[in-house]
């Protein structure tokens, strides 16, 4: 029986990531990060317990939640960066080098090539995210016994962030060179990042205009909004009581609709990438 071309390409993409040491690099970086994070968590918690700040369980809970979210925020960023780096060259690079010619001249359809690459990257990135978020939450639990609420919901939203970025990068790869594509996607990510903070601070300061700027930037690139929603899902009980945290002020939590928007955004972007690649001159 004929193997599915999509699966052949997916396997090729995974193999390439392994052969070109992308996997080893990302894993090493991830492990160093986890080591630093785990040790930091352990020392900080020991210090809190020693100085008696932990006497108030609510305060300790809040501190630990803050530290955990800081760790996950770093994972979110690392994940976004690795998503873009892993996918930025996969279309544009093959077109520039000409390796795509022998591939696309085979009896396979263009969408099978693109979706195959997408699938390979999704498998790899999902495993990476599972390892990193699993590492951060497990280390926190081991070091302090703390476990936040709705971790899976939060992690799913971080994954969705990667999905959006992956689709954007693949679409860019059908149009721009590797370098230009990378610059553009990171710039988009940066716009969303700044927009997100403007929205939060604007909301605290009561500036409706600033909030609008934030919302528009989230519509342009919904990545930061997804993180804020993830942080909201994993917030501590104290944030509920006080209504403010460094990651999400209760007055500017991205809505459920924003999640739906991000799913559609990623899906449409991926469909556009397929559509463009389908008719692209190689």
């Amino acid at each position: 029986m004929r193997r599915s071309p999509t699966l052949i390409i997916a396997r090729l993409t995974l193999k390439e990531a392994v052969r070109r040491k992308l996997v080893v690099g990302a894993l090493l970086l991830g492990l160093v990060f986890l080591l630093v994070y785990g040790l930091g968590m352990l020392f900080i918690d020991q210090e809190m317990v020693r100085t008696g700040e932990a006497m108030n369980p609510l305060v300790r809970n809040q501190m630990l939640n803050f530290l955990l979210l800081s760790g996950l925020y770093a994972v979110n960023f690392l994940f976004a960066a690795i998503t873009v780096l892993a996918s930025v060259d996969t279309i544009a690079g093959e077109i520039a080098s000409g390796t795509i010619h022998a591939l696309a001249a085979k009896p396979v359809r263009r969408w099978e090539i693109l979706i195959g690459k997408w699938l390979g990257l999704v498998i790899m990135l999902t495993l990476y995210l599972a390892l990193m978020t699993g590492g951060v939450t497990c280390l926190t639990r081991l070091a302090t016994g703390y476990q936040p609420r709705h971790v899976l919901r939060g992690v799913s939203l971080i994954w969705l962030n990667g999905f959006v970025l992956l689709s954007m990068t693949l679409l860019g790869g059908t149009r721009f060179s590797t370098l230009a594509n990378g610059v553009l996607v990171f710039a988009g990510f940066g716009v969303a990042f700044v927009g997100g903070w403007i929205e939060q601070i604007g909301s605290l300061a009561g500036s409706a205009a600033a909030v609008k700027v934030g919302i528009v930037s989230s519509l342009l690139v919904p990545t930061e909004a997804l993180w804020r929603r993830a942080a909201y899902e994993m917030r501590s009980v104290m944030v509920d009581a006080v209504g403010v945290s460094p990651f999400t002020s209760a007055t500017s939590v991205p809505s459920q609709l924003m999640i739906v928007y991000a799913v559609v955004y990623g899906g449409v972007t991926l469909a556009l990438a397929v559509w463009r690649f389908q008719r692209q001159d190689l």
């Binding site: 004929r2 193997r3 071309p5 052949i8 090729l12 390439e16 052969r19 070109r20 080098s97 000409g98 390796t99 010619h101 022998a102 591939l103 696309a104 001249a105 085979k106 009896p107 396979v108 359809r109 008719r279 001159d281 190689l282």
Partner: protein, 321 residues
């Protein structure tokens, strides 16, 4: 039912930013034929081949591979293709590379496992089977690329500048493989700017320049020589039978003018005459005519117009051959 031709294209056109790279390309390649697609660099050869293989979408026009419209994978399933420059995933080992392309052709594992060693042997890379392509020289990449193009036992093999930048050994290998394919009845489409290569391997050739087919011609004929039907340049050295002194005024000139009956071009320079004939069959006629007109023939040397002469005449001398 009519058996579809391996390649049939009509009025194929491709423009990049309004500029035509391929303009009004119409051609048919017959089964079992070795077809040369000849033209200077930048003439639109690679663009044409890419349109055949669905790598480039034509701006207008239509075409089929084995009766399937261009872009249909079922047509490509019967085609082997060696792209220009032989760029492949260089982090793969030679066998992995062939296995991958076998999978993409939809070949069974059994067939791939049988074909891979066969082809490595054919292109002389058996000892390099477990080496990564990164370590391969350009000549070796060309050979593994050829193996890749022959994996699925294709009915049509498309080679885009298969010998560009290669040493004579590599060129020889390509020539031998084309010859073997032709013996087996495989159709070959050869893109090249190397005239000598096309001249020795092809049955028929199309000249392309600035995106247009300038001319298509057969290189085969009954008399065997590759260019027997080409225009023929003939140089002759003649003298009046009774010497120049016996010639009446204008008689010699009149006799020479009479050659125009056969000659497309005629140049008379004393006793040396150069003329261009459209067929070899005219040569005996000319000698008979000259003898009848009291002209002795001392020398007659037909010079076949080589593909290169023809090419330069068609495309212009400033282009590289």
């Amino acid at each position: 039912m009519r058996v579809p031709h391996p390649i049939e294209v009509r009025r194929l056109r491709k423009t990049f930013n309004g500029k035509a790279a391929v303009d009004n390309l119409t051609l048919t390649v017959e089964r079992g034929e070795v077809f040369g697609f000849l033209g200077p660099n930048g003439a639109g050869k690679t663009t044409s081949v890419k349109m055949l293989l669905g790598l480039i979408v034509p701006t207008s026009g239509e075409g089929t591979l084995f009766g399937r419209p261009l872009g249909d994978p079922r047509g490509r399933a019967r085609v082997g293709f060696l792209p220009e420059h032989f760029r492949f995933h260089d982090w793969l080992k030679a066998t992995e590379f062939l296995q991958l392309h076998g999978d993409l052709y939809g070949m069974s594992d059994d067939l791939t496992h049988r074909r891979v060693p066969e082809l490595l042997d054919l292109v002389g890379l058996t000892t390099n089977a477990s080496q990564r392509l990164r370590t391969f020289s350009k000549g070796m990449l060309q050979r593994i690329g050829l193996a890749q193009a022959l994996l699925n036992e294709p009915e049509l093999v498309v080679l885009d500048e298969p010998t560009s930048g290669l040493d004579p050994v590599g060129r020889r290998l390509v020539r031998d493989i084309i010859h073997d394919l032709s013996e087996q009845g495989t159709t070959v489409f050869l893109n090249s700017h190397l005239l000598s290569e096309v001249e020795v391997t092809c049955h028929r050739v199309a000249f392309i320049d600035q995106g247009k087919v300038v001319r298509t011609r057969s290189l085969l004929s009954e008399s065997g020589g590759p260019l027997a039907e080409a225009e023929l340049s003939v140089e002759i050295r003649v003298r009046p039978r009774d010497g120049w002194e016996a010639m009446r005024g204008g008689q010699w000139e009149a006799a020479m003018e009479g050659l125009r009956k056969w000659a497309r071009q005629l140049r008379v320079d004393g006793e040396r005459v150069a003329l261009t004939l459209s067929s070899e069959a005219d040569v005996p006629e000319i000698t008979r005519y000259l003898v009848e007109n009291e002209v002795d023939v001392y020398e007659l040397s037909p010079q076949r117009l080589s593909l290169e002469d023809l090419f330069i005449r068609l495309v212009g001398a400033e282009e590289e051959p």
